[in-house]
Symmetry: C2
Subunit: 609 residues, 2 copies
């Protein structure tokens, strides 16, 4: 079989197998798979350098299906290269199968989960950055994008960053099949509209007929001649290509074909071709960064230091101790203090400008290559990237996010800048860890601890300086808490800025003969249920205070922790209830009813009631 015939046959096999898998599942997206089959057949046959038998080979190219709903095509490719067999292919979407409705890293050849559109290209930027700036290996990153998902702003962030970073190891294959789920996309088959946008961002572009194998070959060969620009192959295709009943038809999205037998016949029947992607060659040594060593900083009790600044100092020191630690920031590194890491380790710092989605996506890609990212921006602006954080958990990604400027305690900047939902947002991420230190030494230990923590860790830091409360040798395990004061009448629980408020409240209550226990609940998730349980059993009431909306934060973490162990207790939750404005931190803590006075008042009321 000559190359053209082979590729045509392979493409038809990928289509047939997409139809078969979706038919076996009774659901799925065969037509979205069929449009890109020719692109993938050519990519697999001679361009993708990936040893499927050694998925961990650092020289391997990476293939990301940003249009994750084209999973039947991806799995058909895995079958064609011999990575999965036909029986497994037909388990598509079945309970327990690795071949889920949308790809996840349960499969060793899938770096990251996709299926929320517009994520694959920004994650691809992360993988390409890893190749270029960290691993320093010549592997390439191929991202299959749908045309519909180009409407997501995140894809434009990716175009911008890839152009700016001159990632000529990144190729976007844009499958312009014209049809979205409900109708035509904004640009239909106007390839030029995509090309103009990508060119404006500094990309090379090639516009082709995505079903013309010669044109595809010529376009893919462009990737072998890098010129400092990422490459966009913009391919006009037809959804459902090859089966007249669905080809270029509306209403055929996301469902198996009505007559799979006829469709398979029309496509030339079932085949069992094998394609062997080129194995990568050359040196497989990843670049490593020398760890100079040194100690993590410690802080003198009594010193005044914002936890965000402690974060920066510790991160810098962590970078000295570990060559795998890297940092990303959303153009606020002088506020989050990641600038300390940037200045000490410029090769491992990534300026992501004001694009939080791209920041998180890049971290997903970078950690997929074994690097250990620490991300930072204002806590409030992490809401911008929630879909990426959610999907990072599905990707089983490991990284730490630091959100600074949390709560009304930021003061004058007003509500747009106050992270007041960050604890709820991160607690509701699968497998997450949520930490909220109140002093510099605690921050130091927690930053070090999350560097080895699986999953998404969130560290909330504060804008204002707070006194160093703890000695440098105290320990703060994740899942722990610190009893700052013993007492048997009532328990006051705070974290971060409300810790000093709770301590002050306890001091005021003591003058009235009320002995309050004070707990610094720095580990919001997992929460220290043992200590909470004892507090519930040994004191008459619990008052929680948090610089966060009432839902989903510290108060509910306490309630959940107690409920988990079947310990009912009267818990009085103080939180931000009304929309704050500008003011001094003290004015706003008072207005929100989470300062020492409010905590003491709540304790008195609880004991009276």
């Amino acid at each position: 079989m000559d190359q053209t015939t082979f590729r045509h046959e392979l493409a038809q096999q990928l289509r047939v197998d997409s139809v078969r898998a979706s038919d076996a599942a009774g659901s799925g997206h065969p037509t979205s798979s069929m449009s890109a089959a020719d692109l993938m057949a050519c990519l697999l046959d001679g361009h993708l350098r990936l040893d499927f038998t050694r998925p961990d080979d650092p020289r391997n190219d990476h293939l990301v299906f940003s249009k994750g709903h084209a999973s039947p095509l991806l799995y058909s490719c895995f079958k064609a290269v011999g990575a999965v067999d036909d029986a497994e292919l037909l388990t598509f979407r079945a309970f327990g199968s690795r071949l889920q409705g949308h790809p996840t890293p349960v499969l060793p050849w899938v770096d990251v989960a996709t299926g929320s559109l517009g994520q694959g290209l920004p994650v691809g930027v992360g993988l390409a950055l890893a190749a270029r700036r960290l691993d320093r290996l010549p592997y390439r990153v191929w991202v299959l994008c749908g045309d519909g998902e180009m409407a997501e702003g995140s894809t434009w962030e990716a175009l911008e960053h890839a152009g700016h970073e001159q990632l000529d190891n990144l190729v976007a294959l844009i499958d312009v099949n014209r049809l979205g789920q409900t109708g035509e996309t904004m640009h239909g088959w106007n390839l030029e509209s995509y090309a103009a946008r990508a060119q404006a961002a500094g990309w090379r572009t090639v516009e082709i007929d995505g079903h013309d194998l010669a044109q595809i070959e010529a376009a893919l060969e462009r990737a072998d001649e890098p010129d400092g620009r990422p490459l966009a192959i913009i391919a006009a295709t037809k959804k459902g290509r090859g089966v007249a009943a669905v080809e270029d038809q509306l209403g055929a999205h996301g469902k198996p074909l009505k007559d799979p037998r006829e469709a398979i016949a029309e496509l030339g029947g079932v085949r069992d071709l094998r394609v062997s992607p080129t194995a990568p060659t050359g040196d497989s040594t990843r670049h490593t960064f020398t760890a100079a060593g040194g100690q993590l900083p410690t802080f003198d009790p009594g010193e005044q230091l914002a936890t965000r600044k402690a974060y920066g100092q510790v991160l810098e020191a962590l970078g000295n101790r570990r060559g795998d630690v890297i940092a990303l920031d959303g153009e606020v590194s002088n506020s989050t203090f990641s600038e300390l890491f940037r200045d000490a380790h410029p090769e491992r710092y990534f300026e992501m400008f004001i694009s939080e989605q791209q920041m998180v996506a890049a971290a997903i890609g970078l950690q997929a290559r074994g690097w250990r990212p620490f991300l930072s921006t204002f806590a409030a602006f992490l809401t911008r990237a929630y879909d990426f954080i959610r999907m990072a958990a599905v990707s089983e990604a490991d990284f730490c996010v630091a959100g600074s400027h949390a709560g009304v305690a930021i003061g004058e900047d007003g509500p747009s800048q106050m992270g007041l939902e960050d604890l709820a947002m991160f607690r509701a991420v699968h497998g997450s860890t949520v930490l909220y230190p109140c002093d510099a030494n605690q921050t130091a230990q927690l930053v070090a601890a999350v560097a080895d923590r699986p999953g998404i860790s969130y560290l909330r830091t504060n804008r204002g300086a707070t006194p160093v409360r703890y000695g440098p040798d105290e320990e703060f395990p994740i899942g722990g808490s610190k009893v700052l004061r013993e007492g048997s009448d009532v328990t006051l629980i705070g974290a971060g800025v409300t810790v000093p408020e709770a301590v002050s409240a306890a001091e005021a209550l003591a003058t009235e003969g009320i002995e309050a226990r004070v707990i610094d609940l720095y580990s919001v998730k997992p929460v220290d249920t043992g200590t909470l349980r004892r507090a519930a059993e040994e004191t008459g009431a619990i008052v929680t205070a948090e610089d966060h909306w009432g839902a989903g934060g510290l108060g509910e973490a306490v309630l959940g922790g107690l409920a988990e162990h079947g310990v009912p207790a009267p818990v009085h939750s103080l939180a931000v209830r009304d929309l704050p404005g500008s003011g001094t931190p003290a004015e706003l803590l008072q207005q929100a009813g989470i300062d020492a006075e409010a905590i003491a008042a709540a304790a008195r009321k609880a004991l009276a009631g």
Copy 2:
């Protein structure tokens, strides 16, 4: 004074007042204000058609400061037009002042809150859509953008949509002052890079020196000659313009000037010029859509219908009854069933393609003009727009978001498509309402109720068909719940898909002599604390079951509701704990431990323990 002199003097006054306000506050962003002062002076003097004494005049132009941190400039403009006085200007950022750190609609001339960058332009698209497609009035929308925020993908979504919708009533003034918070932006003063991107999206562009009053005037005049394309005025400016100590200097972002007295002298001293923007003229009649009337649909008990489909049917009928109701969807209207509204009321339907941020931003703009938006997409993809939803609450916006395909109950599509954090996310929005109906009649009533509800309402709908459980005349007030079965041994609480599971569990328990009370807690926020309290007092234990992560959802809403009223109770929360894969809905509900069997088992265990 001739026009040029007047405008120069006015611009200098805006700079001086920005310096003064920031100095009085001890914080703020004077240098980011100074770069755009010439643009604003020219805009106020002869271009902006806005009667500040009648902010509700429907003919008024709209001015959005997307770079919300330039609030000193905005407030200095308000002073220059006589809307606020000098004394109030100097209350900038003080507790209780309307002049907050970033603009909010506490001020009658501010349509929407800004301060999270990249939001003003997409919101401006919403305002411009309101003018063009709904109000049908010739007002214009002027958006002042920073250059740094152009890195946010949301601005590119806005460029795309404005171009696609041919919004030539929208003008973006891009203040390219080159410097971000920490360094130079990605494109510096390369105006062409912005122009190429905007042109690619179908915009007219003008590149100017943003301190040359003649060039600004010529550019602004282009807005008077609309040609079907939105207009981008791309202005090279200098941050801190006019004060040598800070002009075009790094390190001068977001802080008052060190020597304000010298700066004011350098700017020519304090002035008290007044500028009178042109009052709008012409017909002030807003277009209205005829409400044909008709009843909301009702559903026959026993019928099988997905709540998402009921949502679509009710929304269509609501559109018949009310001309102010509009709908937006993120290119999944055949999944959310907003297509029923689209087909019945095409003039009031907005296809937002796959850009959830732009969808929410457009809704913010549309509701600011008095329209009543209903937005829909998959619950999972609403995470993409969390920052916009958060800011919508700061804008005190009123609209309803419907998230379909919630939870593991969607089945085969897998975790990327499962909304499992939506309840937590929306509960942690200020002033929000969170509803989760289990049948079609309940959905109907709740959709009607949220149409008049202030704030952000969230309605969670399900993919799969469920039996119509309730009669068409039953009432479901927001904040209520429904006791489906009385019982005194244990209480089972569900919502949405877990309601039938709880009912089945109660039936199974009854055969064992255990009488379970079953509560349909369709109103997750506000929650029916009275009914919860009675359940806690009258039954021995409470079991909650939710198709959502354990944090921040139904279980914690119950715990919070009980705690609020000081009722401690043993609550056993069943929720999704492990990462799901693909499978049938029944398999996945079972695996997650939230099906009837798991609920019954939890009840038995609770009673045994």
